[in-house]
C-alpha cells in the first residue's frame, strides 16, 4: 500500500491537467484512500501514467536475428551487471530481453506492444516476452500475406477467411492483427513487390493489396478485436509513397485502422534526389478522419538496425548502404529483412525523414490519435524517446537542430514553419493515455480508481530530455521498480491476449489446407496456453468495437 502526496498530476484519461492531487495504491491498483503503507512526498514533482508503446519490436525471430548480427554494437553499449536477483543484459540497438525491460522501465514505460509476430514464430516470441521483466506486453500476429487467407479472399470466401483469421489470433496467443505490406510480402517470396493498392499480387488474379486491407479491417472490426487493424502500408520508405498512403486511408473509410510508423509513408518527390515531406498533406486528411490512429515512427540521427517484415524494402536498403544484410524467411507465412543503418543529418533523405516524423506529431492536432514511436529499432532505439519529447516541447531546441541540416532541405519540409510546442498534458496523452486507449487497454494509461497503478514521478527539469530520461520513481503494479535510476525490482509482467470466437469446424476445414502448405504438424502449430506466463485474456466485443 502506498500514498503519493502533493504531486502535480497529468492524467489525460480523466481530464486531469496538472492538478496537485494525492494518489493511493492498494493491491496494485489505484484506490480512493488508504491510510497504510509507505508515503512518498511528490511535492513539486510531476506524475504521469506509465508509458505505453503501441508499436515496437522487442521479441521474436527478427529482433533476435538483429541481435546476432550486431555484436559490435553490444560491445560499445551499456551493460547491466547481474545481481543475485536480476539477470545481466546489454542495451544498444537491439537490447537483450532483460535489458529491454530495464531500459523501458528506466524511462517510465510500463506496457509495450510487440507489433509483428509470424504465427510460426509466435511460440518463440512468447518465450522472449516472458524474459522481458517489469513490463506488461501484448503482441500482434502478421496476417496480410497468409497464403490460406489470401486464397480464401481470392475465392470470395470472406466469412470463412474471418474464422481462419480468428483461429490464427488464438493459435498465436496474440492480441490483434498486423498487416505488413499486404500482398507485397507474398510477392517478395518470388522476388516481386506490390507497391500500389491496385498492384498485381504474384500468384493471384482477383485480389489486390487494396482488397486485402479493406477486408482485413472489416474482419477485425466484426470480430470485436480491441485494437483496430494495425497496418504497415505498402510502398514503405519510397519517394512519392504518400499517394499510396492516402489511397489506403481512403480505402479504409468506415473502418477503424491504426497506421503504423506513418513517417515512413509520408514522402513526396519522384526519386531520392527530389524526395520531400508530404506530412502536411497527410496530416490534413488524417485530421478530418477520426476513424484512424497512428504512431509516428520518428527518426533520430545516429546508429540503429532496421528490421521489418517488409523484405523488398530491406533489400533496397541493403543495396543503398552496402552493409550487412540478413534475410529471414518464415515458412509460407512471412519474411523479414535486417540491415544495420546510420541516420545522418548531412544526408538529405535522412534529414527529410527526421523532419517528417516531427511534422506528423506536430501537425496532427488530436493527441489522442497520434502516438510517440520510433518503430524501434527502425527509426531509432526506444530508449531515445526522451529526445523526441524534448523536440516536441521546445521549438527553440528544434530550430537549433534544424540549423545543422543541409541547406537544400529548405523547400522539402515544413517543420521550420511550425511553432507548436507540446504541453506536458499532451505528452502524457501521446505516450500513455492515447496508445492505451488505441490498444483497448482501459486499465492502462489511466490514474483513475481501480486502474493499474503503473505510473511515473518526474523531477521538474528545464532540460526536458533529462527529465524524461531520469524519472525519480517508476511504479509498476503499485511496486517501486525504479528509484532514482536504480532498478529496485524486476517483477514478471503480464501478457494480454484475446480469444475471438470462430466456427468450431474451423480446425477440420483448416487442417488439410495447412498440411498441404506447411511442413509442421497442424496439431503442433498453436501455442499452448501453458507457455504464456501471467496471461490475461481481454474481451472481444463486436458491438463495442466501432466506438
Amino acid at each position: 500500500m502506498l500514498r503519493i502526496i502533493g504531486g502535480t498530476v497529468y492524467d489525460p484519461a480523466n481530464g486531469i491537467n496538472g492538478e496537485v492531487k494525492d494518489l493511493y495504491v492498494a493491491d496494485g491498483r489505484f484506490v480512493s484512500k488508504t491510510e497504510e503503507g509507505q508515503t512518498i512526498d511528490a511535492t513539486g514533482m510531476v506524475i504521469f501514467p506509465g508509458g505505453v508503446d503501441v508499436h515496437t519490436h522487442v521479441a521474436g525471430g527478427s529482433i533476435n536475428f538483429a541481435r546476432a548480427m550486431t555484436p559490435e554494437d553490444h560491445r560499445r553499449t551499456q551493460a547491466f551487471i547481474r545481481t543475485k536477483t536480476r539477470r545481466s543484459g546489454l542495451g544498444g540497438m537491439a537490447p537483450t530481453t532483460f535489458a529491454t525491460g530495464y531500459l523501458y522501465a528506466g524511462m517510465g514505460w510500463t506496457t509495450v506492444n510487440e507489433a509483428a509476430v509470424p504465427v510460426l514464430s509466435a511460440r518463440h516470441t512468447h518465450e522472449e516476452l516472458r524474459d522481458i521483466p517489469i513490463l506488461d506486453k501484448s503482441s500482434l500476429v502478421l496476417m496480410a500475406n497468409n497464403e490460406i487467407i489470401l486464397d480464401l479472399l481470392e475465392d470470395g470466401e470472406d466469412e470463412r477467411a474471418k474464422h481462419i483469421l480468428a483461429w490464427h489470433i488464438w493459435a498465436a496467443k496474440s492480441y490483434g492483427v498486423k498487416a505488413v505490406n499486404p500482398g507485397g510480402v507474398a510477392s517478395w517470396k518470388w522476388g516481386k513487390d506490390a507497391k500500389h493498392l491496385s498492384s498485381k499480387i504474384e500468384g493471384y488474379d482477383h485480389i489486390t493489396p487494396g482488397v486485402i486491407i479493406n477486408k482485413l479491417a472489416k474482419m477485425v472490426d466484426s470480430l470485436g478485436i480491441p485494437h483496430p487493424l494495425h497496418l504497415h502500408c505498402n510502398n514503405l520508405g519510397a519517394p512519392g509513397n504518400v499517394e499510396t498512403t492516402l489511397e489506403t486511408m481512403r480505402h479504409l473509410e468506415g473502418s477503424r485502422a491504426h497506421f503504423a510508423h506513418l513517417q515512413y509513408h509520408a514522402y513526396g518527390g519522384d526519386d531520392w534526389g527530389t524526395m520531400k515531406s508530404e506530412a502536411a498533406q497527410l496530416a490534413e486528411y488524417f485530421n478530418a478522419h477520426p476513424n484512424m490512429t497512428t504512431d509516428a515512427g520518428a527518426v533520430l540521427f545516429g546508429d540503429t538496425v532496421t528490421i521489418t517484415a517488409d523484405g523488398p524494402w530491406q533489400h533496397l536498403l541493403y543495396k543503398l548502404t552496402g552493409r550487412k544484410w540478413g534475410n529471414l524467411d518464415v515458412e509460407n507465412e512471412t519474411g523479414c529483412g535486417i540491415v544495420p543503418y546510420t541516420y545522418r543529418p548531412s544526408n538529405l533523405v535522412n534529414a527529410v525523414q527526421w523532419a517528417v516524423g516531427l511534422e506528423l506529431l506536430l501537425l496532427i492536432n488530436d493527441p489522442w490519435r497520434v502516438f510517440l514511436s520510433t518503430d524501434h529499432p527502425n527509426g531509432a532505439c526506444f530508449w531515445r524517446y526522451p529526445e523526441i519529447i524534448q523536440l516536441l516541447m521546445c521549438a527553440d531546441f528544434r530550430n537549433d537542430c534544424m540549423a545543422k541540416l543541409p541547406p537544400e532541405i529548405k523547400n522539402r519540409i515544413t517543420l521550420p514553419e511550425i511553432n507548436r510546442e507540446y504541453t506536458l498534458y499532451e505528452i502524457a496523452t501521446i505516450t500513455s493515455a492515447g496508445p492505451a486507449k488505441a490498444l483497448g487497454l482501459p486499465h492502462k494509461g489511466n490514474l483513475g480508481i481501480g486502474k493499474d497503478a503503473d505510473f511515473v514521478i518526474y523531477h521538474h527539469d528545464k532540460d526536458i530530455a533529462r527529465m524524461f530520461g531520469h524519472p525519480r520513481y517508476v511504479f509498476k503494479g503499485g511496486e517501486i521498480v525504479i528509484d532514482d535510476g536504480e532498478i529496485r525490482e524486476a517483477p514478471q509482467g503480464r501478457e494480454y491476449l484475446i480469444k475471438p470466437s470462430y466456427d468450431p469446424n474451423t480446425d477440420d476445414f483448416l487442417k488439410p489446407l495447412f498440411e498441404d502448405r506447411y511442413c509442421m504438424s497442424f496439431e503442433n502449430y498453436p501455442v499452448e496456453m501453458e507457455r504464456i506466463e501471467h496471461a490475461q485474456i481481454q474481451n472481444c466485443d463486436a458491438t463495442d468495437a466501432t466506438n
Binding site: R82, R87, E127, M520, S521, E523, N524
Partner: protein
C-alpha cells in the same frame, strides 16, 4: 499389452526436428516410430524407461541425486572460471536454466555451434 500411441511426436535427433512421428510405446520402451527416418528410429528405440544406470556417480561411485547436486554446486561455486558447455541434446527449458546458471556463476558459456 495395449501400446500407448503418441501422435505428432517430435524427433530431436538431428536439426530437422520432424514433428510428425507416431510413437507406439509401453511403459518401458518405444516399439514403433512411424514416419521416422533410420536415424530417428534408432534414436527413439534405443532409449528406454529402465533404471539402467545409477541415479548419479561421484568420483565413479554410485551416489544419490541429492548428493550429486550438492557436490556439483560446490565445485561450480568454488571455481574461478567455470565453463558451461553443450546444450545440444536437451530441451530449451534446460538451456534456459543453463544460461541463467552461467550468468549467476560468472561462467563461460558455449554450445556445439562453436566447434
Amino acid at each position: 499389452m495395449e501400446l500407448k500411441v503418441i501422435e505428432n511426436a517430435t524427433c530431436t535427433f538431428c536439426g530437422c526436428v520432424c514433428d510428425d512421428i507416431e510413437l507406439h510405446a509401453d511403459d518401458v520402451r518405444i516399439h514403433q516410430a512411424k514416419r521416422a527416418c533410420v536415424l530417428g528410429k534408432a534414436w527413439f528405440l534405443n532409449h528406454t524407461a529402465e533404471h539402467k544406470y545409477p541415479d548419479a556417480l561421484i568420483d565413479g561411485q554410485p551416489a544419490t541425486l541429492e548428493e550429486a547436486i550438492q557436490v556439483a554446486a560446490d565445485h561450480l561455486y568454488q571455481a574461478d572460471m567455470p565453463l558451461v558447455y553443450g546444450m545440444s541434446n536437451t530441451t530449451c527449458e534446460a538451456q534456459r536454466e543453463c544460461v541463467e546458471m552461467a550468468d549467476l556463476l560468472g561462467a563461460l558459456l558455449d554450445s556445439h555451434t562453436s566447434l
